[in-house]
Subunit: 402 residues, 2 copies
């Protein structure tokens, strides 16, 4: 009787669900009566030779173009309309990578309406296209164990703010009692705590490198580095019309204190963390590279691994900083480099090869070497952009905690 | 000497950071040379009387309109161009709420380029505008303690998939050893495990109701209810051109087994969960409402609280289901309603008042009552849409675990 009951239950549940499926399907189509129909537009279409075709349907538009970070200058490519009012352009072939692009429709920046995958970069949105290849595999969810992403709020007495941060725990964390080393990873100016996971694909990069045995399983802590901001603008909207940095000073000397006094104690109290500087790294990109440099080198009792990606700290930024003065910022860095060498396991410096910062960054790395300060410098093709920073992270992680 | 050193460090860090700030600011503006300038367009602009003005700049466009979920039919409002090529339209006054809207630019659906806040609904994106008021406050980050969001992967032997789900833990969870009741919350057909937090604002609704003492602190588990899908399309992209449901059957009788055999044991092993049906609720919207109804009522030994939001199960969906047969689906539901009344603490049913399902849903609730099955029915203004489902969740949570 019991079996029979279960069987009846299963049959009726199956029937109910088949019905549910068909009615839901009809309903989804029916529920949004004013949405333009999709007209089977496939965009982007990645061709076997790594050329990419973009398409969009419009009878009325006067001009449509596409631009993306495959071009260092974001040069726009005009799209042309066929007899069926489908506009298209084919670009490339492109190097394997994850690209961000937008359409400009009669002067209005827009994402690709046929592409569900978009990312927010500061206050604007772009569509995403993946050109397959070895590097793109690192940025996608592969058939490997995945870590977790935690989005948490913590008190920052230093900043007098209740703030949000994003924490990656590695595969296996939830099913073990092991302790793990930690990377504190800073975003760039005007983006936020969501940037490294969403734009930077940090979780996928870590998952994939760990699965390949190339990176040690680690915790990655991604705070909000804008010192006047509690959380990403999706959580706490900025004032209307605020397009770049959040209003007010975004960085200040309390960032160092907040990392050391607020964030690290929170992480050590709530996560299973291996102690000591040999198990703690700090890195960041652009503004966050400066933060990693300053916080890391001022606290070598806490961090033995430092990564400075595309920082403007060394010069090369229009209107800023011709006067990089390492010894003044970090006393003893050059004059007593051997003591830094003893504390540090890695000082890693990287930059995009088309970034205006590159020459100054290279010079700084050479200056450090000349003064006996061990460091590693790596350049990546690209300007001041995520294509470079994802590669920097993927190059940096395998060097840590070994 | 020590103080002086610290002071020097602070001054030089402060100088470094001021410089960093200015150079980063210049850099951000400079780094994206091809982006259209913003021209100080403020859009959306919410006026004191709750009218909303939308604006977009274009010299070339032939026609631009705006439509959103303030209109049940998504009726488009034409925008008109002024002498400065700024197109605008003012709508409303609108009821306080969180609205989703899009522009149609020469026939192309697009988000508002001046508005950084967007949401993904299935495969398309919309911009978000909040009209202030009591209900909108529930959907925003207020000055109250916040819970955490975990995005985790778990094995589903039942589905033979390694799957992703989203879990909300309440404020205080990480700093206590308390155990909490759990709500298993299902999304609708074709959306995914990110829907309840992103479109549904589940974390903000829970935070705010808990802070007001209106809801009990609880864990909310949000699985992916599409049985052929491991994760949201942002994690594992669907096949090109797939605009609605993921390909293949999205629901089936293994969903029940996956909740009971995979998801609940995972949650009970990894989170501090109060045991027993009196501490377990299951709810869902649309397809997920059907899942909650079936899984809940078939497992009253596990769930004492059931929420069915806007389900097509009872009828009202074009082409589907005239033949709701409760007794056949859930044996004894009507003929032995008293035994269900003994097990259940709440059978909650809700629907949008402009949803074609509403009359059938009301009839089902009356049929249940007539057969002695206790239930609560609530309607909310709106059709088959998130404005209704957020209100349903906000109405449902305060009824749980009391």
């Amino acid at each position: 009787m019991k079996d029979k009951n279960i069987d009846l239950k299963c049959i009726s549940l199956r029937l109910a669900n088949v019905c549910l499926l068909s009615l839901m399907f009809i309903l989804v189509l029916q529920a949004q009566p004013q949405r333009p129909r999709f007209r089977n537009i496939v965009s982007p279409g990645v061709l076997p030779d790594n050329k990419v075709t973009f398409r969009v349907y419009s009878k009325e538009a006067a001009s449509i173009s596409v631009s993306g970070d495959w071009s260092v200058t974001r040069e726009a490519t005009q799209m042309f309309k066929n007899d069926s009012s489908v506009w298209s352009a084919t670009i490339g072939p492109l190097e394997p990578d994850r690209y961000h692009y937008t359409f400009t429709i009669d002067g209005i920046r827009a994402t690709d309406p046929s592409n569900p995958i978009t990312v927010r970069d500061i206050t604007t949105h772009a569509s995403v296209v993946l050109v397959p290849g070895e590097v793109s595999e690192l940025y996608t969810v592969q058939n490997v164990p995945h870590g977790s992403i935690h989005k948490i709020w913590y008190n920052s007495p230093t900043m007098k703010l209740y703030r949000r941060m994003v924490i990656y725990t590695p595969p296996g964390y939830d099913d073990s009692q092991d302790k793990y080393p930690v990377l504190y990873l800073q975003h760039g100016g005007s983006v936020d705590e969501d940037a490294w996971t969403e734009l930077g694909r940090a979780a996928q990069i870590a998952d994939n490198l760990i699965a390949r045995g190339k990176a040690k399983p680690l915790i990655i802590v991604m705070p909000n580095g804008n010192t006047n901001e509690a959380a990403a603008l999706t959580e706490i909207p900025r004032a209307a019309g605020s397009q770049g940095f959040p209003p007010g000073p975004t960085t200040g000397n309390n960032y160092e204190a907040s990392v050391v006094k607020d964030i690290m104690p929170y992480v050590e109290a709530h996560y299973r963390v291996l102690p000591g500087p040999e198990n703690s790294a700090i890195a960041g990109l652009s503004m966050g590279g400066g933060q990693a440099y300053n916080v890391g080198l001022r606290n070598t009792d806490k961090f033995a691994w430092i990564g400075v990606f595309s920082s403007g700290l060394f010069g090369g930024v229009q209107g800023g900083y011709g006067n990089f003065d390492p010894e003044n910022q970090i006393p003893g860095l050059l004059s007593n480099s051997s003591s830094f060498n003893k504390s540090l396991r890695l000082l890693y410096i990287s930059c995009g090869e088309q970034d205006p910062r590159i020459e100054y960054t290279k010079k700084a790395a050479i200056l450090f070497k000349e003064n006996g300060l061990n460091n590693v410098f790596t350049g990546f093709p690209g300007q001041h952009e995520w294509r470079v920073w994802r590669k920097a992270l993927a190059d940096f992680l395998p060097r840590l905690f070994k």
